[in-house]
Amino acid sequence: MARVVIRNLNKSYNEVHAVKGVNLEIRDREFMVLVGPSGCGKTTTLRMVAGLESITSGDIVIGETVVNELPPMDRDIAMVFQNYALYPHMSVYDNMAFGLKMRKFARPEIDRRVREAADILGIENLLNRKPRQLSGGQRQRVALGRAIVRHPQVFLFDEPLSNLDAKLRVQMRVELKKIHDRLGTTAIYVTHDQIEAMTLGDRVVVMKDGVVQQVGEPLDLYNEPANRFVAGFLGSPAMNFATVALTDVAGATHALGEGLQLALPPQIGERLRSHIGQQVTLGIRPEDLRVESGEAANGLSFGAVVEVVERLGSEILLDVKVGSGTMVAAVEPTVQAKVRDHLRLALNPERLHFFDCRSEAAI
């Protein structure tokens, strides 16, 4: 068990600067998730921690040791790969025992650890099988088992669930969480799936173009995104964005956009004071919109035309046209709405997000 510190980490391949000045501290026993779109540098960062990629500049510290130059085998880490990377010619037992054999553990100790891990993962009855005789979920478990038996200081996960079907993915996600709670090993987990990031991570790192955008607990990122990218990346369906102009009408701040005319409460107006007279990006999460019957009293509603109705059972997603733009509203399943209906959507001013149009940073 150990903390991992990444200091000013850079990686360049010839012309491409893939990872730019990443600084992170992963605390002992923490489950840290790196999330971002493909090509954002998250996997490269993980592979540098593993020692599979060389570091262009910066430091990686595992425990108390700077591991920049250490080969993977000396870093005391275990890694689970996206395609499982099970050794096809070895039985499940041998797959799990391989790391221990390489490290010259005594036979009884190897046996004890393999059986213990198999017990945790519920794969005792598969120990004699070959990987090709296993289903996707079982292979995933074996790959996990191979990491667990080593009792490493840090687990590294490289999109381990993305080859599974949707249902199994949810199941394994829960299982991973349980295993981490039980073992308490520091873990770094890379994924492009924001739901995995939100559900698994103690903290989440959002990356884009090799740069860390924001680090924090999942709900903090969700509720207080540092910039427009983080706001749009986390949450499904994604946050709605609209460009609005902020104006001062008789001491009250108004946000005016296409089809939008919102009178903002004073405390929010105060926050936006420096941007009065400018264009900003307004962000509204779909679940923060509700269908209002009649005119809302506080002036925080707008008219919309329904374009698509998606009934998901637990909620309804309404794709609506506001002015010339579109928005998505996630509303209660009891709402009766049909295509081409004219609605009024009301919003909660506390839950509005504003971003600078140029820097895209939250205001």
Partner: protein, 283 residues
Amino acid sequence: MIEGAKWRRWVYFYIPLGIFIVWLLFPFYWMLVTSVRPDRELYRPWMAPNYAPFWTTHPTLVHIIDLLTQTLFIRWMANTLFIAIVSTLISLFCGLLAGYALSRLKFPFAGMLGTGIFITYLVPQTLLFIPLANIIRNFNLGDTPWALILTYPTFLIPFCTWLLMGYFKAIPRELEECARIDGATRWKAMLYVIFPIAVPGILSAGIFAFTLSWNEFIYALVFLSSAHEKTVSVGVTSELVRGDVFYWGQLMAGALLGSIPVAFIYSFFVEYYVAGLTGSVKG
């Protein structure tokens, strides 16, 4: 499989396949029939009555017995086997390491080197034997098995390297990365993970190399001169054709017996061989 009416299956599948099989196997059949045909039938003119070119009613083993007792055929077989096995082992060893290095290690000019090796494979042996003959003479290796054992790898190593390089490339990189995180050095990862997975590729490279050296003719003809050093391919054709006299029965018996080891190896490893050439690794 071809679908539809029965006649379609016959016209598009069974009949063409049948023609193809007959076409392929007829020389072997001819070899077999000739080797058991008595001399009085062999040298009978076409026009003679009761002439039956495609079978014999009086099969005899006399040619085979003559071949084994009156000639050095057994010695030639032993020579060929020794030379083929040793040169195959040398080529496989070099090919394995070179193929691994070219497919996995990053070093300057790796791509050029790979292409260069392939080009050496394309140089025809009929040109290469002239300079090689000079080298063999300088090292005083003429008329010894080592003349062939050391020259066969000139075309076997490029072949093995290329076949194995392709095979290693098909093995997911993660397997090796995982082994290295698991505590294996690159050498151990290669030995315990990559090579065992590459067994089909290694076997097919080995079989092919063995076949190439077994069937090799021009180097054997040039570098070996005394009868008891010869290989089967040269021994049979040079010792059983004297001037314009062809000992057809013994020639064919020699060809038949000489092709048995290769046929034997192929029939055992055909599945590995196909897997090796089509390069399939399932995780």
